[in-house]
Amino acid sequence: MTNGFIRIASAGALAGVLWGWLALLAGSLTGIFMLEAGLLESVASFTVGGAIFGVVAAGFIAVGLRLRLFRRIVVGSIVVSLGLWLILRVGGAALSTMDAGRYHALTLETAQGLILALCLGVIIGFLLRYQENNDVPA
């Protein structure tokens, strides 16, 4: 399991980093939120944030696979990524109702986040499937 976990966590971290850069690119292209930090700082924060999001998602995917909650790895990865994002978003909505001045929810940013969470699931899913098909060592 440890080797399996390292393999899955590595895929999650790699997928998360790629996803972080995708989020940065997508955000810059759509202009839904204009970056406030410099490019270097943004790349660093999106890389770290994406990697953490990816490893956490991959950890839950590993649990799902172990418990046989889903058969198709890509579908399971999408469900887990969307579920994780949704849990965070519901928590954000709760914070928003408690402290509206501090936490504003914006519909377009929420929609972008939802689509990005879907993308994370797709990236992790395909990376895990690639590892599985090619028997990548830990």
Binding site: T2, F5, G27, F33, V55, L88, G92, L95
Partner: protein, 57 residues
């Protein structure tokens, strides 16, 4: 007496679980910009938080 906690079990289950829980906590700190937990978390991940659709000011 029966050995309840095996070292292999600890390494194979507990350590990965602890890593995921710790990172999930870090993710929550990042997603909500919890400066009270980690000073500077809000500013460091401000753009990331907005980009992934989390509420912020």
């Amino acid at each position: 007496m029966e050995k309840v906690i095996d070292r292999d079990v600890l390494w194979s289950l507990a350590v990965p679980a602890l890593v995921v829980v710790a990172l999930a906590f870090a993710l929550a700190v990042i997603a909500y910009g919890a400066d009270s937990v980690v000073p500077g978390a809000h500013d460091a991940f401000h753009d990331f938080r907005h980009m992934i659709g989390m509420p912020c000011h």
